[in-house]
């Protein structure tokens, strides 16, 4: 594998030195482009109290192209599908090379606080979120309790 670009080295160092509250991102021992991520569910959201595992990979042409991020912990959310894939503009067409791992993870945390059922990835979840929000929130809490706690 080619030498790690300075940008990735520095970003990793800074993530370690000044971690983001509620988010941990640790590079894998064998692959410095692969990060084990844990995001805590934001307060006052149905995901509160949960610890959500994600994986994050920096592709060859990072930061010219966006990191690849996926939820590993099951989550009931209109913009995250069964496979954990995330519908977030900055991971797609709104990616800018001036964004960082830190900003991406903060955006994902913000997405947990503010689901957007009008731009859905998981259609059934989004549908319920729109027609019966309280039931959707109950489901999200139940999934959080079942999959994102004590594990």
């Amino acid at each position: 594998m080619a030498a790690l670009p300075r940008r990735i080295i520095k970003e990793t160092q800074r993530l370690m030195q000044e971690p983001v509250p509620g988010i941990s991102a640790v590079p894998d021992d064998s692959n410095a482009r692969y990060f084990h991520v844990i995001v805590t569910g934001p307060e006052d959201s149905p995901f509160e109290g949960g610890l959500f595992k994600l994986e994050l990979f920096l592709p060859e042409d990072y930061p010219m192209s966006a990191p690849k991020v996926r939820f590993i912990t099951k989550i009931y959310h209109p913009n995250i599908d069964r496979l954990g894939r995330i519908c977030l503009d900055i991971l797609k067409d709104k990616w800018s090379p001036a964004l960082q791992i830190r900003t991406v993870l903060l955006s994902i945390q913000a997405l947990l606080s503010a689901p957007n059922p009008d731009d859905p990835l998981a259609n059934d979840v989004a549908e319920l979120w729109k027609v019966n929000e309280s039931e959707a929130i109950r489901n999200a809490k139940e999934w959080t309790r079942r999959y994102a706690m004590d594990n």
Binding site: R7, E11, P63, M64, S65, K94, S96, P97, A98
Partner: protein, 505 residues
């Protein structure tokens, strides 16, 4: 790709955008250049064939013209023009009538009249005074190694190069590359791109993307659809008319298909789609096959016996082809199988009958269409045999100009074939009426005379005395051409008089 080579031709003033209404111009320059090869097709339709460098020149002429009034930096003018799909009237109108700040904001460009000195943007590195850190590579540079747009977001030259290259090569973005900063919509102008991109191939790709978006958004311009041809055709108004590219390809300006008179673009499109999709395959299936009443497998009858045994090894149903009932009660007298519900059986038979008729009708027209298409391909071989004949004649004391009638004969033969080919598409969608009968007579005449000409050029010509040939060939092709014109004139008149009724098929 060459840039900005000056061309003396006066360029048409109309920017040709969809939204421009009446073509009222400040200084209307009348198009003077008439393309060399177009006369033989349609004399009154004027157009111009542009090379890539002509297109670049044409764009910069429009920019200059806009700037003679607006006095903007050319790069800003280009971004604004692109935002208005190169409709300069619309740009001028918005510029003088509306809120200019709003206009610049919508077009994602900084108002050049209001350049505010970049306010404290350069993020000074905390570690070393007088240096900046690039937000992309995290390296620290002297300010002279950093650059950016009017929005104030600065990155190092290396990162700009990589960013622009990724946008151009990987994403195919040209005129609308935004600043590399997150959420900054300000567009990178063409001069900046050319300055910051290092690789020549990327620059060429960028130029191509820019000219391409210019052609795509301009209704009066169209790329020649011929493979690997880099010319575009420019017209004064869009019409269902043939244009001849410098590469020799003749196409319909309105839709870009091969020239297809007498059938109109919309029906040709429908026809091509029909030929390409599987609708006739499914018609064939419903006309020629039945489904096994037990397992539903599609069955084609390949023998005379009506006692069918399903070949699906898990089914092996015995049934009667005629009534699709179980074979058992038929015994030896299968033809007495009239015990099924009469209406249902009749409906099924009618549906199959209709499928069959539709299929037959389609195949009738399709065969003739394909046949002329095939012949047209063969006629191209005639050019070489005719060339030999022309040389032979020149050795018998005929001048070069005197023997050109032979080439002309093949030209006309090809045109007739092409017209005939498309008459079958026209006819397929045509409802029968008195005029359609006249059309079919014209079609028959043209087909007959075309075959005569074809046969003569292919075969009889070798046995003829050289002196007789010229007269005979000329008589034949003139007659063909006359029939072709008569047919087309009749169809065109019908378009004007609303004679033609379209058949839904």
């Amino acid at each position: 790709m060459e840039m900005m080579n000056t061309d003396d031709d006066s360029l048409c003033e109309d920017s040709g955008n969809e939204t421009s209404g009446d073509d009222v111009d400040f200084n209307v320059e009348v198009e003077t250049s008439v393309p060399k090869e177009s006369q033989s097709y349609d004399d009154e339709y004027q157009y111009e064939v542009l090379s890539t460098s002509d297109i670049v020149q044409y764009m910069s002429d429009i920019i200059d013209e806009v700037n003679s009034v607006l006095q903007l930096p050319p790069t800003t003018a280009r971004i604004l023009l692109n935002y208005f799909h190169w409709d300069k009237e619309k740009l001028m109108e918005r510029f003088f009538d509306g809120d200019q700040d709003e206009l610049f904001k919508e077009a994602n460009v900084i108002n050049p009249f209001k350049k505010i000195p970049v306010t404290g943007k350069p993020k000074l590195s905390l570690k070393i005074r007088g240096t900046e850190e690039c937000d992309i590579c995290f390296m620290v540079f002297a300010p002279s190694h950093m650059t950016g747009l009017e929005c104030g977001h600065r990155f190092c030259y290396q990162c700009w190069n990589e960013y622009l290259t990724t946008k151009i090569v990987e994403e195919g973005v040209g005129q609308t590359i935004a600043c590399a900063a997150h959420n900054c919509p300000i567009l990178v102008d063409d001069e900046t791109v050319m300055r910051l991109v290092k690789d020549t191939r990327v620059k060429i790709k960028y130029q191509h993307l820019i000219t391409n978006s210019f052609i795509e958004c301009n209704r009066l311009l169209r790329w020649c659809p011929s493979p690997d041809c880099n010319y575009a055709v420019k017209v004064a108004y869009v019409d269902f008319k043939p244009v001849v590219c410098c590469c020799g390809h003749i196409f319909c300006f309105a839709c870009g298909e091969n020239w297809h008179d007498p059938v109109k673009c919309s029906l040709l499109k429908k026809w091509i789609k029909k030929c390409d999709d599987d609708s006739e395959t499914s018609n064939w299936i419903s006309a020629n096959t039945k489904e096994c009443p037990k397992c539903g497998a599609t069955i084609e009858k390949d023998g005379g016996c009506n006692h069918m045994v399903c070949k699906n090894q898990n089914c092996k149903a015995d049934f009667c082809w005629v009534c699709l009932g179980s074979w058992e009660p038929h015994g030896s007298s299968w033809y007495n199988c009239n015990k099924y519900d009469e209406d249902e059986a009749k409906a099924a038979r009618d549906a199959q009958e209709r499928s069959r008729a539709a299929l037959q009708r389609y195949l009738f027209y399709c065969n003739r269409y394909m046949n002329h298409m095939q012949s047209l391909k063969f006629e191209h071989k005639l050019y070489s045999s005719v060339k030999d004949k022309m040389e032979e004649m020149q050795q018998h004391n005929m001048s070069w100009i005197e023997v050109q009638f032979l080439k002309k004969a093949v030209d006309i033969l090809c045109k007739c074939r092409q017209t005939l080919m498309y008459t079958y598409v026209f006819a397929y969608y045509l409802k029968k009426n008195n005029q359609s009968v006249i059309f079919e007579d014209n079609q028959k005449d043209l087909e007959r005379t075309t075959e005569l000409l074809s046969e003569y050029l292919e075969r009889d010509i070798t046995q003829e005395n050289l002196v007789d040939i010229k007269q005979k060939v000329q008589d034949k092709y003139r007659y063909c051409d006359g029939r072709r014109k008569a047919l087309l004139d009749h169809v065109h008149e019908g378009y004007e008089q609303d004679w033609w009724v379209c058949k839904e098929a």
